[in-house]
């Protein structure tokens, strides 16, 4: 009887191990070049993750139609970060250790990107980030690049928008993670430097279902405006509960489509804010191509930024070589000659985006549109 049990156990283990034996096929056989991409395909930032993924898919389609990399097709392995740092790092491990990719596009939330980036940097794998904006991104290392401008750009611009609109008394609402803290830092700095008064700062905990206590504290000081940024699902709850509390103030959002993407239109009507611009010709071309391929408008700026990231990697591969180090060295150069969907894209000495044009937007009638004061 005992041997039977041992046999059963052995059988179970063998069956489970079977798939791993077939593993040689991954990593791009047959002349394909493989890179990796990690996006939040589930969890709080699904809306943005899917958007990013589509941007990359569109880019890859165009790249391969354009001859690929010296005749070889580009292939992307997509991984889900689940909007959690653990899963993001796990995905990075898999792509780097198992699939041996030279470059990864990803991720989205700074809290998720930074740990994965640290591992990629350590292993000498290029990572191009289309979504995270924490100032800490500049400290990761020479293998890490961002196509999106960091918080010091957005945070200050957002504060300036509030001041331009005539608000001098504001409260701040950001997520409690590296992204939120980065935004907070720069919003506070710019707002106060220019004579504004910050009444309260709330760093809301992620992934909660009820924010009434936080919102109560937020409105305690009677702010005129709320300088905020929040991830899709959490923003949905925050704005809804704020409305149900009867609280009134002008909401000014950073990355407005992210803040309003899945929210109930009623609860975010009248919000104004900023996000990376994409109305330039290359951006418009992307919008058209996107609509044709996916049947709907892009969800926000992140698809454009991910698209730019994918194209830059491909161009770097064409220029230098297909290994990580060559890509790393070629990226700053190819960026200068590349007409990005999001405007002038150049990398500074830390591999981060030098300048970022922003659009001023307002949410009205269930969608976001350009805001003319």
């Amino acid at each position: 009887m005992k041997t039977l049990h041992k046999l059963v156990a052995l059988l179970v283990v063998v069956v489970l191990l079977l798939p791993t034996t077939a593993c040689g096929q991954l990593g791009g056989g047959g002349g394909e070049l493989t890179i990796g991409a990690i996006f939040p395909l589930t969890g709080a930032s699904t809306h943005e993750g899917i958007d990013e993924r589509r941007g990359v898919e569109l880019a890859v389609e165009q790249i391969n139609a354009d001859g690929g990399i010296d005749g070889r097709d580009l292939k992307v392995i997509f991984e889900d970060s689940e909007s959690r740092p653990e899963a993001g790092t796990d995905a990075a491990h898999k792509l780097i250790d198992v699939n041996k990719v030279p470059a990864i596009i990803g991720i989205f939330s700074s809290g998720v990107t930074l740990p994965a980036a640290a591992y990629a940097q350590e292993q000498g794998v290029v990572m191009v980030n289309p979504g995270s904006t924490s100032p800490k991104c500049a400290e990761v290392g020479d293998y890490f690049f961002s196509t999106i401008g960091l918080d010091h750009l957005m945070g200050s611009e957002q504060a300036k928008l509030a001041l331009d609109e005539g608000y001098t008394k504001a409260a701040i609402l950001v997520p409690n993670n590296p992204f939120g803290i980065g935004m907070e830092e720069w919003m506070v700095k710019t707002f106060e430097e220019n004579g504004g008064e910050i009444t309260t700062i709330i760093e809301y905990p992620l992934a909660q279902t009820d924010y009434r206590a936080e919102l109560q504290r937020l409105f305690e000081g009677d702010p005129e405006a709320i300088l905020y940024t929040a991830y899709g699902e959490e923003s949905k709850i925050l704005t809804k509960q704020a409305m149900e509390m009867g609280a009134e103030a002008q909401w000014i959002g950073g990355y407005l489509t992210m803040c309003t993407g899945v929210a109930d239109p009623q609860t975010v009507d009248g919000h104004i804010g900023l996000e990376p611009a994409y109305h330039m010709p290359a951006g418009q071309a992307f919008t058209e191509a996107f609509k044709e391929k996916f049947g709907e408008e892009p969800g926000g700026p992140f698809s454009y930024l991910a698209y730019d990231a994918a194209w830059l990697i491909a161009l770097a591969m064409r220029e230098g070589g297909t290994d990580a180090e060559s890509i790393k060295n070629a990226l700053p150069e190819v960026a200068k000659g590349y007409d990005a969907a999001t405007g002038d894209l150049e990398f500074d000495e830390n591999g981060q985006r030098l300048e970022q044009p922003y659009d001023e937007l307002i949410y009205t009638d269930g969608h976001v549109e350009l805001y003319n004061q």
Partner: protein, 303 residues
Amino acid sequence: MLAFLIHFLVMTGIFAIVALSLNFQVGLTGLSNFGQAAFMLIGAYTSAMMYMAGVPFVFGVLAGMVVSSIFALIIALPSHNLRADYWAIVSIAAAESLRLFVNNEKWLAEGPFGIRGIPRPLSSLFGDSYTLFYLVFVVVCLAAVYFALERLNRSPFGRVLRGLREAEDLMEALGKDVFRFKALAMIVGGLVAALGGSLYAHYITFISPETFAPDVTFLIWTMMIVGGSGNAKGVLLGALVITLLNTSTRLLKDYLYLPSSLVAALRTLSIGVLTIGFVVARPQGILPERRHVVSYGKEEGGS
């Protein structure tokens, strides 16, 4: 593929160490400890922070063990005469409170951002073949833990612990200080789990309060139940099977063309189903506990 195999074995080794620690507390002593993730957290954070502050790796790990022993004592103190289900709740509550504290107090350990870029000890020495070295290191630790715990199991100390599990009142009547033994069992288990936590931190290079959510504790429990509670070899087997399920799902999706969004859910579903299946059909696990036949004056192994 070798890379994946090595990665998988490292993870198995790490979890096996923690599973053995749980087995010592639950399988042997009968304490329903559901706060194991907290001990891992303590070990991971302590050794990571100390190593990054320049303290030699070994000292950091030992420090983690010391802190977790203290925490084990803190849990044992108010709970020592509680029933199993109370123990479960209190230990979960204690573990969650610790996790909440680490999460909220940014000055302590970066709060929710976690600690990233944890350096791997001796990484410069091994370069490309580092993971292989780490595997050997983990296996050595596992072997040490295994034999140490087995020694304790067969010792008079282990007999008392088993006695506590089977007939606590009898032990008390025999004059054994029940609290002391339970506390010791918690401490031993706690510091072994801390070792596991440290090994995890320096391998994955990133930890955050989220890493040590109750899900991890339930995972370890499943390993113990599936493998065989009370049987160290069984627990090792359980760790192997469950870790395989856990790590290979990300890989499997590339073959089975599963939508990425389903992978995470299917992983937890299979583990839940496995737990129930074993609890109902075969609660003793794949390898049941070997009953030691005690004859007068001597002890022999037997089954």
